[in-house]
Amino acid sequence: MSRVKHLGSRRELENYRDLLFVLVQKDIKVRYKSKILGYLWSIASPLAFACVYFFAFRIVMRVDVANYPLMLISGIFPWQWFANSVGSSPRLFLGNAPLIKKVKFPRIIIPLSMILNHMIHFILSLPVILLFVFIYGGAPTLSWIIGIPILLAVHLMMVYGISLVLSSLNLFLRDIERLVDVVMRFVFYFTPIIYPIELIPERFQAFIPLNPVAPLIISWRELFLFGTFNLAYTAISFAYALAFLALGYFVYRKLSWRFAEVV
């Protein structure tokens, strides 16, 4: 028997849609307050990372990889989307405490709007990647047309699942936030972003798919770097994405009714 029964207070579908719309719009407005500058800031950080790694690995350590800057760019931008989404997840519900305490609304929409927002940034930064592709003598291929939407969807599902888990759990176990910081640092170096797959020693190659992020980032990178769509790795990412989404939804469902008590 359900303990609470609310009759006649259903939100319309239109409200859900509008809710998502204004939440995404809000973040974008706040972020791009001054339009040009806002855009520059949002691509500055991945570009700065790329410069640092270029200096460290190409100029100092003299790693010999073809088109290294392009490789960096095509890995770092998708990684930024992933890392920023995951990194801001733990504080999501916590940061909306007044809302969660007072208003009955589908809280599941908060992580979704955050992630959509990061996705929009990523899409807006595609021209920068394209620019680098041109600089290194490449051009967009047909694979981009199918590859980009599919990878966007897979990426979105994966970060949504992870974000649901982290944002829900962090209300109950507040040090998840710290843990995420540490774990993400590991994941970054275990994911082929600043090095090509071929440089990974033979005996470790088989372990690449064990890192849920690696197949996704590799798929993105090959798409931009070689113009090819890696079906195998995309399929693995999709499986991971489904698993995370299921887990995230499960955790959210189990815990969401207690959010207002613990925020």
Binding site: R3, E12, N15
Partner: protein, 263 residues
């Protein structure tokens, strides 16, 4: 034709008090002890309360700080779930009147009205059609186009109340908000309350202002020690409450139509 729109049926609500299980570290290192602690350490905010609010009624709730009034409203609003018993609500409900829950300091007053209205369950179209009316009501003048981080707290309250006053719900929940604006706006809020009183809307009002409970409500409930102490005519409840608190409050003249009867 007395039809209950809100029914509480032997409702109990307790909050977890697991202050010491708030992190992964603790869970891992003293798990069994904590699990036991978690079960035993809980705080009973409401014990076995039952009451009905009928359609069109203005229902007041009074009681000391920490008695469980906001918890009761949270249960009605559906942000909290009872641990025992059953809460049934029939009708479209306003959120717990939460001034400024969901406001974003960087957005202008106008943008916040739209955001807030949608969060509270309206569609974008509905909010936009009421926008001018809401802005007029708030009397914020040019400030409506400025980011709300520069507002004073009274101005914020005006903005929040203006949105809620135009939500047009069937059941209105109000938790202690009447005393924030300046006297003119307080009067305006009171007038709006009175307008609500005239309309057929059902209202649940939590307030420490005994006089507004008396002037607005048809019936009042006194919560003491997490249970219902008395339900009855607001004047009588208020008198008993003041006596118990040892405070002399001038309750004004006894209204003509009072027949003292406790229920």
């Amino acid at each position: 034709m007395r039809e209950p729109v809100i029914s509480f049926d032997n409702v109990s609500k307790h909050y977890p008090l697991y202050t010491n299980v708030r992190g992964i570290k603790n869970v891992l290192f003293n798990f069994p002890r904590n699990l036991r602690a978690m079960r035993s350490q809980r705080f009973e905010a409401l014990r076995d309360i039952s009451f009905d609010v009928y359609r069109g009624e203005k229902f007041g709730i009074i009681g000391r700080n920490g008695a469980g009034k906001s918890t009761t409203l949270g249960l009605i609003a559906g942000v909290l779930r009872p641990n025992e018993g059953r809460v049934v609500v029939r009708g479209r409900i306003s959120p717990l009147l939460a001034l400024g829950a969901g406001f974003n300091p960087e957005l202008s007053g106008r943008e916040n009205i739209v955001l807030n209205g949608i969060l509270m369950g309206l569609t974008r179209r509905e909010v936009l059609s009421k926008l001018d009316e809401i802005i007029d009501f708030s009397e914020l003048g040019d400030f409506i186009n400025h980011p709300i981080r520069i507002y004073s707290s009274g101005m914020l309250a005006r903005l929040g109340f203006s949105v809620v006053a135009h939500l047009d719900p069937e059941i209105l929940l109000i938790d202690e908000v009447l005393g924030v604006g300046d006297i003119k706006f307080q009067q305006k809020c009171l007038d709006k309350m009175m307008a609500f009183k005239e309309s057929g809307i059902t209202m649940v009002l939590v307030s420490h202002s005994i006089s507004s409970v008396i002037s607005i409500c048809d019936r009042a409930m006194w919560i003491e020690d997490h249970t219902v102490k008395m339900v009855g005519h607001p004047y009588e409840i208020a008198a008993q409450y003041c006596k118990a608190a040892g405070v002399e409050v001038d309750l004004g003249d006894i209204p003509q139509n009072v027949e003292f009867s406790s229920s």
